[in-house]
Amino acid sequence: MLKVGIIGFGKMGRKHLESFKRIPGVSICGIFDASPGKIQEAGLKTCPDYKHLIKECDVICIATPTDTHKQYILEAIAVGRPVFVEKPLCRTVEEAEEVMQAVKKYKAKVMVGHVVRYFNQYAAIKKAIADGCVGKPAVARITRCSKFPKASNNWFNSREKSGGVILDLMIHDIDFLIWCFGDVERVYAKDIGREKIPNMDYALAVIRFKNGVIAHLEASWALSGGFRARVEVAGTEGLVNYDSRHPASLKVEHSDGNVIRENPVDENANQMEIREFVEYVLNDELPKTTLHDAYEALKVSLAALESVKSGAVVKLRRGKSE
């Protein structure tokens, strides 16, 4: 039995718990959260001390606010525990460097939950590009919009903790584009941070990849409801496009006017990434999301934030741990 310890019991901690529970040979060792009430409400046993939890379990899953990731990662890998950490890897470049050095030192296994790679539609877009459907890719457009996320202490509203919509939401698409197109040359971005509107964020970015592709990214926490994701890649010989507004394979209309659209899948993306993490730990099979790419996605996201702040184009630099 592989014993899993979960640190952080918010939206993602709960999701990962469900995914771990469905994997044969995996058991839940314990759950820690800074507010243990949340765990008790869910009818689960809380673990009062995360240090104890790290000692007791075989692997650790971290789903806490971004600015606390580093500390948990370092403590877990120092005692040889493989780590699955929710994206982003951590909050700052300095923290990331520290993590990367420690990973090297302890030869640790760390996987970051860049879940977009596990969505079938995104995998299909990447494969279509690889199959030559667009020829040589030239311009990409990618969009991710939702309402403002709810979380304990409303930590998403704190730039210091979450990094806002760029570091928490746009990073999904930055990671996907890195998966498709490789390293980033430079980035320029704008967001509505200067407005200081509570519970709202919105950003646009332009990225030039080293392979020449120009990408436009939109990330929004300004929808009143619903969700929208889109990706389009055009090249020398064609264009591919996915839009979450494409008709769903299943639609349920309730008599009260409520409509549910759904594309049921054999294995959902969250389940897939957790399964790959377990296979990585047990069988050494490398997951689709490498730590290196997660580190790159973080650097590009932080470069976008830097661009917002300075109003200038930011060239990507090599990190100390590269």
């Binding site: 040589k136 030239a138 311009v139 457009r141 969009t143 430079r186 320029y188 971005a189 704008k190 509505i192 200067r194 407005e195 509107i197 919105y202 646009l204 970015a205 332009v206 030039r208 020449g212 120009i214 990408a215 436009h216 939109e218 929004s220 300004a222 929808l223 009143s224 055009a234 090249g235 020398t236 010989e237 064609g238 264009l239 109003g311 200038a312 184009v313």
Partner: protein
Amino acid sequence: MNKIKIGVMSFAHMHAFNYSKCLKKIHNAEFTGIYDDNAKRGKEMAGLLGVKFFSTEKKFFAEKLNGVIICSENSKHLSMTASAAGAKAHILCEKPISVNLKDANKMISLANKAGIKFMTAFPCRFIPSVVKARRLLDSGEIGRILAIKATNHGSLPDGWFTDKKLSGGGAVLDHTVHVADLLRWFTRREVRTVYAEIDRSIYNKKIDDCGTLLFEFENGVFASLDPSWSRPKSFPVWGDLTMDITGEKGNIYIDAFSEIIDVYDDKTGKHSCRSWGSDAYMGLVKNFVDMILYNRTPFISGYDGLKALEVALGAYESAAKKKVIELPLKAKK
């Protein structure tokens, strides 16, 4: 009352055909004829539209025209404007107003000195969804505008559009001016900074075919625009005009050319679409005719044309220097 006499100068730009069809339908306008420096094209179009063809500007302006619609290659807008100003004919000039700021300024001053009205042809200002969106924004429906994400995609155009000497620029010039004008119209502000990534990686011609702009207005509103000719030949429609507007209290989405029916025709070998939307060209041409008829101030001025052009030129400068460019652009020595 007499009809307003209008002639069309050059059919180099395909919009000449759209404008001509409108002229024929406007009851207080008389479509006097066509001048074209390409006589073969001019004669053919005149025949098709059932109007007279004039082989020289002299003969064309001898008709005592009240107004002309200039649809030449962009680089020839200046010389045709000079001729029209000389003949005291009011001008509706296809966008972009010109290929550089110097020519654009000259055109505006030529018209001023001649005492004629100069209007820039931005038909998108007459698209009902665009007009309605502006009204909603003005009414405060979604509060202050915070940011705008726009696209004006197209397919690869034919002929002189990809010849920089005649067009002055590719996709970025061709499409940026439309959206820059609409956003200036919406925000009532000028663009303060422009950043752009531009390339010619789709068709590998000697002119830009793709890119993305990210620019900021004087009041801090920022907007992105993708003006790429990135729709492949197999795409069901020619292109798009979209604007996703994020406001303090809500969002407005414009997808101006989404009013379409699906067509599956074996002859074309692909799924295609036909528009059922309103005719924006008609609004534009009618506005031009009314401007002359009722002695109005141009709804879209030469200055509007120039400021939209400046955003596109700023984008080229940004891409060349790989940095953010401040507007207004400094005059070139």
